[in-house]
């Protein structure tokens, strides 16, 4: 027995178990300590030679060592099952600060992301997505929307006209609203529709103007749709896009195709309404135009304004994206610099 000092043995066990790398080695250790001719067996056999007074104490110590070995065997076995030990054991050094490696994915353009995000909010509410053509007739773009041909209200909508062989004057739609006309001409209420798309206006290009940009139009028509519904929907949507914390205000405005009409402002997301350079010290940011669909528009599509009411709204996608992501130049969207695209 005297070959083994109990303390040394304890150290030896710990060393043995910490160094093992697989189940086979673990088994070898089991045999080494607990096997039929193992160390513990040898120690137990030696008890006989001890003086009677030392026998119980020594037996207890042997038993403790046995329990320790059994415990270590069990934990190590579990560790192997969990896979925790293997890589370490294969000699790998883990540097916790070393960055990961990722598969390079492409990026959806930010305009697409914003359109999809906003559309998805509406889809969840039960709206359907409809897209219309970019080439439109004067009727759909203006006349049917209660915009008389030679009226100052047209000044809001400067328009690109197309050379065309057909009799009807064609143009590049200056807003997504003509899709209202297309949908209402072909379908009967109830309608809840969202229209994302490209629009065109002859604006000289600068940091905040572009002759091509994107809009999202939405409208809803049914028997009892009121301004209160417009408010409810837009509040939900604006909070979903920006944050729960924003405040909103509906400001009377004029659009030929809605009455009453409202421009919608949100409290400035940069300064929280205190006034900064982004909101022009006003504390508010205009984000969209909206209103109740004008009875004259219903008349053009053959809906009875005695039976139906509806709301409509339109927002600029680039504007929303610029506000939400702090982009200061609209040209960035169309330059497609990879260093821009890859940020989103």
């Amino acid at each position: 027995m005297s070959d083994y000092n109990i303390e040394d043995l304890n150290l030896q066990i710990e060393q043995d178990f910490s160094g093992i790398s697989d189940l086979q080695a673990l088994e070898a250790l089991r045999i080494k300590y607990l096997g039929r001719k193992g160390i513990l067996a040898e120690l137990t056999a030696g008890i006989v030679d001890l003086p009677a007074s030392k026998k119980p104490g020594f037996g207890k110590q042997i038993n403790q060592i046995k329990q320790k070995v059994l415990g270590l065997l069990e934990t190590k076995k579990q560790d192997f099952k969990d896979g925790a030990l293997k890589p370490d054991a294969l000699g790998m050094q883990v540097d916790v600060t070393s960055p990961g490696i990722a598969q390079e994915l492409g990026h959806r353009h930010l305009i697409t992301q914003v359109i999809e995000e906003i559309s998805d909010i509406f889809i969840r509410l039960g709206f359907v997505v409809v897209e219309g053509p970019e080439i439109e007739t004067e009727f759909n773009n203006f006349t049917a929307l209660n915009i008389p041909l030679e009226h100052p209200s047209r000044d809001m909508f400067d328009t690109f006209y197309l050379t065309s062989r057909s009799k009807e004057r064609l143009l590049l739609r200056s807003h997504t609203s003509p899709v209202q006309i297309r949908v209402m001409q072909s379908r009967k209420p109830p309608l809840a529709v969202i229209v994302p798309g490209k629009v065109y206006r002859p604006d000289a290009v600068d940091a905040s103007h572009s002759f091509v940009f994107h809009q999202i139009e939405g409208f809803m028509v049914d028997e009892n749709i009121g301004f209160a519904d417009l408010k409810g929907i837009l509040q939900l949507v604006a909070k979903s896009i920006f944050s729960d914390k924003i405040k909103m205000r509906f400001r009377p405005h004029f659009f030929p195709f809605t009455e009453p009409s409202a421009e919608v402002d949100i409290s400035c997301i940069i300064c929280q309404g205190k006034g900064c350079s982004v909101c022009g010290r006003k504390g508010w940011l205009e984000i969209l135009g909206s209103g109740m669909i004008h009875p004259n528009v219903f008349k053009q599509v053959g809906y009875s304004s005695g039976q139906y009411t509806g709301f409509a709204f339109g927002m600029g996608v680039e504007r929303i994206a610029m506000l939400k992501y702090g982009i200061n130049d609209i040209r960035l969207f169309f330059e497609n610099d990879l260093r821009f695209l890859r940020q989103f």
């Binding site: 492409g106 030679e150 929907i233 009377p252 009453p260």
Partner: protein
């Protein structure tokens, strides 16, 4: 439109500070875009919407102020005036077409003294952005700003024969206006003329010849109505805008012409002296009092909230409407003549909502009824396509859909099929793109200049050809190794088809405007060319100063979407028994297409061969000239048992035999 706090105070007692008033005006639809404290007054700059010409005046805005601050409007009190001579004959007014000019009034004041204006008048005009000229001109401008009625003063003694004609200009007529510019007139311009020549462009600007100057002593004061469209056309044609044209285009209150004119006469007599000698007017056109029946339940339907009749009455009265006969369900509302924008019940509903405040309307969520959206599935398919491309590491671009004709021509698209804009801002945005490729290539050029690498872009958008617009997918790759880049691009189209469930497609040679003919492939699905891909012609790249190889593809999404509709994936049982894979390395004559080899092997339906594909293609020292090295991968598998080596050997030998006999392939 600029207006000052003190000027408004002439018409309404304002009980709140300027900042608060600005806030209230904004929330009532008169957006205050700027507020400035100046010379002991506050200048409000307001954005007046085009439907509200009545707000292009101090009185109009004061009326709104009264309504939103619960105050009373003090209307303009005009001293009754009688001209000295009521005789006719001294001045004749001849209107060519009553439609162009429904009302024309003229007042003659003799013996005025032209001086600079008193300080108070100068200051008010300057605060609202008008330059002081002389007392007469300033008074006409002052009354214009106050009442919204444009006025014009002529030097009476320069008008020939005391006759005023309101007529369309003749083709050859010219006029020098008070801005000093000479303008050619056409029959689209309405003019004020004497017997000889035009003396003003009606409603837009006066002529220099009859301008009120230092020496003037007798004046003719014009107050009239000109047709909005006539004014607008002439104003656009001549490229001229003015405070008066701005108002005539939007519409003038017929009822206020006379009072505004008298107000000006009063001020002239007071400030410039003289005698009011003559007042002349064309007959006032008959106007009908507009009465609208407003149903109470309509307010509730449109706004979603209730208003009691007292509130309604108070708002409408404050705005100048008269609430007439009332019943339990509706009331009759008379519209004042200055509110030309109000013609239907909804217009009144807006007034009620606006003045009581939009914030008073509650918000609620509507009940939305499910709709059949099957017809609108293009949106979803487009998203699917985008997601597949993104997963392959391609970045989405959004480029301008209007391009220059030069750019389009360089890419080989002929002029005849292009759609062009008649009023482009510049030649850079003249043509609607007939292809997505030019825009994408330009983008790659931009990124190369920014020293970007691994540029792979795609864009989905409409292209325009032959008067039609169609959704297309464009892809562009930049690469140093041309063969590999082309195969990467082709692989992208293949995986796109595969992931969309389109199993049958093939590639062939084709021609495409911007690809050389031997590096121009087509993707054929269901016998139709669905996509074209190839290398961008070097000449195009040279023009763009691009030195790398560029490859592009363009895909007709309508054709692709039609195939997606048909595609239906079916489950194929997962193999129960293991496969055996063997590779073959051969040397083949270079002119033998790999596709032919693969097709031939597949046609032979070799037992247990489930996959046969090109693994690698190479040229190098070990390969004799005129030949290429190929590695082909074969996978053998049986559905009902594990293959024995012998079974695989037999099949594999057949593959090797065919390669040798049909293609003289040498095994390496």
């Amino acid at each position: 439109m600029k207006v000052t706090y003190n000027w408004l105070n002439d018409f309404v007692d304002i009980t709140i500070p300027a900042e608060e008033l600005a806030e209230k005006l904004t929330m009532a639809g008169l957006e205050v875009t700027h507020l400035e404290k100046r010379d002991g007054d506050f200048v409000f700059e307001l954005e007046i919407t085009s439907n509200r010409p009545d707000l292009l005046s101090v009185i109009g805005i004061a009326r709104e102020v009264a309504a939103i601050t619960d105050s009373k409007l003090r209307p303009l009190h005009i001293k009754g005036l009688r001209s000295l001579k009521q005789k006719t004959g001294q001045l004749t007014i001849k209107i060519e077409n009553k439609n162009d000019c429904p009302l024309y009034t003229a007042k003659v004041i003799k013996g005025v003294k032209i001086e600079s204006s008193p300080d108070w008048l100068k200051r008010r005009l300057e605060l609202v952005g008008l330059r002081s000229v002389n007392n007469i001109v300033d008074i006409t401008n002052y009354v214009l700003m106050e009442t919204g009625q444009p006025l014009h003063a002529f030097d009476l003694n320069r008008i020939k024969d005391d006759t005023i004609f309101v007529r369309r200009a003749k083709g050859s007529e010219k006029i020098v206006l008070i801005d000093g510019e000479k303008h050619n007139l056409t029959k689209d311009s309405l003019v004020i003329a004497d017997r000889q020549k035009p003396i003003a462009v009606a409603g837009i600007m006066g002529g220099r010849d009859c301008e009120v100057v230092q020496e003037t002593c007798d004046i003719l004061l014009e107050a009239a109505i000109f047709h909005p469209i006539t004014t607008r056309r002439a104003s656009r044609l001549l490229g001229l805008s003015s405070e008066s044209a701005y108002r005539f285009e939007r519409g003038i209150d017929m009822q206020a012409v006379e009072s505004a004119s008298l107000q000006a006469v009063n001020l002239i007599l007071k400030i410039a002296g003289g005698e009011f000698v003559l007042s002349k007017s064309t007959p006032r056109p008959k106007t009908k009092q507009q009465i609208i029946t407003l149903k109470h339940n309509r307010i509730k339907r449109i706004l979603g909230s209730d208003y009691n009749i007292r509130e309604i009455k108070q708002i409408l009265n404050a705005l100048g409407f008269t609430v007439g006969k009332q019943s339990r369900t509706d009331c009759k509302i008379s519209v004042p003549s200055f509110r030309i924008d109000v013609s239907q019940p909804v217009d009144l509903v807006e007034e009620i909502a606006r003045i009581s405040g939009y914030e008073k309307i509650p918000s609620r969520l509507p009940r939305i009824i499910p709709q059949d959206a099957r017809a609108y599935s293009k949106w979803i398919k487009t998203r699917q396509v985008k997601n597949i491309l993104i997963s392959q590491g391609v970045n989405e671009a959004v480029t301008y859909s209007l391009l220059s004709r030069r750019c389009i021509n360089e890419f080989g698209y002929p002029d005849t099929k292009l759609m062009t804009v008649t009023n482009p801002l510049s030649s850079e945005q003249e043509v609607l793109r007939p292809s997505i490729i030019p825009g994408l290539i330009t983008c790659i050029g931009y990124n190369l200049n920014q020293r970007q690498k691994d540029i792979r872009l795609f864009e989905i958008g409409n292209i325009f050809r032959n008067n039609q617009e169609k959704p297309f997918l464009g892809i562009a790759y930049c690469g140093k190794e041309p063969e590999k880049t082309l195969r990467l691009l082709r692989g992208l189209l293949e995986i796109l088809c595969y992931r969309l469930g389109i199993a049958k497609y093939e590639f062939g040679f084709t021609r495409y405007p911007c690809f050389p003919k031997d590096v121009s492939l087509s993707l054929i699905v269901n016998k139709k060319i669905c996509a074209s891909l190839g290398m961008i012609k070097p000449a195009i790249l040279e023009n763009l100063d691009i030195k790398d190889y560029l490859f592009a593809a363009e895909l007709d999404l309508e054709l692709l979407f039609a195939e997606i509709e048909k595609a239906q994936k079916r489950y194929i049982p997962v193999p129960l028994y293991p496969e055996a894979a063997r590779d073959i390395s051969i040397i083949l004559k270079q002119n033998i297409p790999v596709g032919d080899v693969i097709k031939r092997i597949k046609l032979n339906q070799i037992r247990y061969l489930v996959e046969f594909n090109l693994k690698d293609e190479y040229l190098g020292k070990q390969i004799p000239p005129g030949h290429k090295g190929l590695t082909l991968s074969c996978i053998y598998q049986a559905r009902d048992h594990t293959l024995t080596t012998q079974e695989v050997d037999i099949s594999h030998q057949r593959v090797l035999d065919i390669l040798r006999t049909a293609f003289s392939a040498q095994q390496r």
